[in-house]
């Protein structure tokens, strides 16, 4: 094992320039890809925080009886996608409305009688990418006994969610591109390393070395390069993240928008990805090479 590591290190030293390029390429690819993932994770989290606030207001029939109202509450609760509901009596509703109007709250001073109905406020299990689910839920509730009207900000939320989804689509597309790019670049750099070693490989084969004897050190080298690249890329991203975080903490007044680093699983996946890419680049290139 020690012997093997020594051999790998020796190989690396033998072709320092190309190996440095491979590591730098991998690191940069990992950096770009994971920067992208970081961005995505944070935008996604933000969108979800917004959408989770979405709720359906269920206005009740003014002449519904207490019993009907209670039964209705149970019925709503039993809808699978509903994650909570709260009864809002008409007085509380007026209070809220006044608060919302803010400086124009005085408008309501002249009102003789509270025209607002009792209501249920329903929280729905919905994420930004499953916004469509809220429609059917609202429809179901709207058809229930004792319900006068259902409202859930269809229009502006729908528009917002549509944009978010388009954003997500674009980001997925770009993510795919980046991933392809990463694999392509790293695989190619490794291929170029092999290309520069083709004389050596050819000679080894001529003097009777078996395919495995030739392959193993090359695989080891590629994996090693992938590993170093992955560690470097993620390390640099983490430093950048810390920088950005410090900046954001300074400039943004509201702590409402906090950014997070990549979850461990994603970081681990990116890292394994860099190993995989090293291996894959090696595998593809070697196949081409050893066939000829």
């Amino acid at each position: 094992m020690i012997y093997f590591t020594q051999k790998v290190l020796k190989d690396l030293k033998g072709n320092l320039f190309l190996n440095a390029v491979t590591v730098a390429s991998t690191a940069l690819s990992v950096l770009i890809f994971s920067a992208f993932a970081l961005f995505f994770v944070n935008v996604g989290a933000l969108a979800n925080r917004w959408v989770e606030d979405a709720r359906i207001m269920v206005y009740l029939n003014p002449d519904a009886e207490a019993e009907t109202i209670a039964r209705l509450g149970e019925a709503i609760k039993s809808i699978p996608d509903v994650r909570g509901l709260e009864f809002v009596p008409r007085e509380a509703a007026l209070q809220r409305f006044r608060a919302q109007l803010g400086s124009q709250g005085s408008l309501l001073d002249g009102i003789a009688e509270n025209p607002l109905p009792d209501a249920y406020e329903v929280l729905v299990k919905v994420r930004s990418w499953s916004w469509d689910r809220i429609g059917p839920v609202a429809g179901k509730i709207g058809a229930m006994d004792g319900v006068d009207e259902v409202e859930y900000g269809q229009e502006w939320m729908g528009r917002f969610v549509n944009i978010l989804n388009l954003l997500r689509l674009t980001l997925y597309g770009m993510g795919g591109l980046f991933f392809m790019g990463t694999v392509f670049f790293v695989a190619n750099t490794i291929r170029l390393v092999l290309y520069s070693r083709r004389e050596e490989i050819e000679i080894m084969r001529l003097v009777g070395a078996s395919e495995n004897f030739i392959k193993y050190p090359i695989y080891a080298q590629s994996l090693f390069l992938g590993m170093i690249g992955g560690i470097l890329g993620l390390g640099i991203l983490f430093q950048l993240y810390r920088l950005l975080e410090a900046n954001v903490a300074n400039t943004m007044s509201s702590s409402f928008f906090e950014i997070r680093f990549l979850p461990v699983e994603i970081a681990a996946a990116v890292f394994s990805g860099s190993l995989l890419v090293g291996w894959l680049g090696c595998y593809i290139s070697l196949r081409k090479f050893l066939r000829s």
Partner: protein
Amino acid sequence: MTAYGSQSAIIQMYRVAKRYGAKSALTDISLDIADNEFLFLSGPSGAGKTTLLKLLYLGETASEGQIIVDGLNLSRISRKRVPFLRRKFGIIFQDYKLIPTKNVYDNIALVVEAVGVERRSIKKMVNSLLRTVQMEDRSRAFPPSLSGGEQQRVAVARAIAGNPKIIVADEPTGSLDADSARVIMGLLKLYHRRGATVIIATHDTALIRQTGGRVILLNDGYLEVSTVIPKLRP
């Protein structure tokens, strides 16, 4: 078929031809090489000497005909078994084919390791080989920094490193002065006495006379003469 009889032949070629595109490098070669023979392959530049040697270790595949090496039919051998075939050979290439990015020691150690020698004895073995070709003081040098003759001597050391059954030497003394050439030829003779079959491609008739042996004369891809030349008394 030659007079040598196929039962003791380690290499048999029957109606072999090799074409590169339109260019015919070898035509209709039939030749038996006996086990433990000391054979010269001669002929002018471009006659096909190197090509013939390449066919033996599957550096190239024949366009036509049959080649059997130590019981292996080369037209039937599987890709996996090619290294097995090549390990029967020790090859001194005309252009040396040293790995330029590895030093002299590693160039030889690689072969020694590839043929499966125990790791502990590699060092001793490589150093003794380098001593034999008088290159022990250059063992850390890289091939591009060696003189032509020095490279050739390293190539010789590598060829005999695996203790091969068949030694194939393509112009093994082309870059060497008379003294160094004598050392190398002595080495090949030594391995011959120990049981190896030795095939030397050369256009140097002086070299042939110096040791004597059967000579195969190629010309423009045809086998022209097969004759035995006696050792010249100095």
